[in-house]
């Protein structure tokens, strides 16, 4: 693997994990009695930036390297389903995550007052942040399974 692809893979993993941590922080803060809108707004913004960084770096690695160098190894290995189910699912589910994060950012950026005053908005934002966090954790674990299948 060239140095470029190593850096792209590291950027994808690190930015992705930090983004999941960001989603988790947002979730934790919404369930508090008093929501610090300014803090959550900043965390949500960084989460979106990190997700896009992970998207671009991971996408570049996936399109330019994974298909020709990694996929054949997994398919010929002892757990080929790591590609045909786990990777196929992960690469598509990952695409949903930035849109969930942007929606959460939108709520805090443009309608933060609603989170404080409207219980229905707060409940639905909490549910969405929780779902995004859990989805992010599952995607991270899927990445671990795929990495393990290469060895």
């Amino acid at each position: 693997m060239s140095t470029l692809f190593k850096y792209l893979l590291v950027a994808h993993v690190v930015a992705g994990i930090l983004a999941v941590a960001g989603l988790w922080l947002v979730w934790l803060n919404i369930i508090k009695d008093k929501v610090n809108i300014s803090f959550v707004k900043n965390v949500a913004l960084w989460t979106v930036i990190l997700l896009f960084l992970s998207w671009v770096s991971g996408g570049w690695y996936y399109v330019q390297y994974y298909g020709t160098a990694v996929k054949p190894i997994i398919k010929a290995g002892s757990f080929p389903l790591a590609h045909s189910i786990v990777m196929e699912w992960k690469e598509h589910i990952f695409l949903l995550l930035p849109f969930l994060a942007i929606s959460i950012l939108g709520v805090f950026l443009f309608a933060g007052d609603q989170v404080e005053s409207n219980l229905a908005v707060r409940r639905s934002a909490t549910r969405l942040a929780g779902a995004a966090t859990i989805l992010g954790i599952i995607i991270t674990l899927a990445g671990v399974v795929i990495s393990g299948a290469v060895r």
Binding site: L100, G106, V107
Partner: protein, 111 residues
Amino acid sequence: MNRINKVCSIGIKITNGVVLGSIIAVVFITLVTLVAGLNPLIKTWLKDAFGHHWVGKSILSVVIFATVSLFAGFFESREGQRLAGLLNALFWITALASILLLVFFTYEALT
């Protein structure tokens, strides 16, 4: 006070547009993945047009999100209840899309 209320309601309008854009993007990603999986012509078209089917899905989803968010922002409601409804819809559609795609790829891999 009226001015503050107006600014707040415009914020809800923009957010409603963004969340609606996300819903449409999630639905698009799910449908195009299922259709391209079942119809090789669609997958080939995505590959020919964007270099890779995944890049095509990525770019098209961003374009669809941006377009819907921008235009929906003009027409969306200024009601907080509508925002709560849209966030709930995004939650359920994402959950359904995740399960649907998992079932689809499992079926494809095992048959």
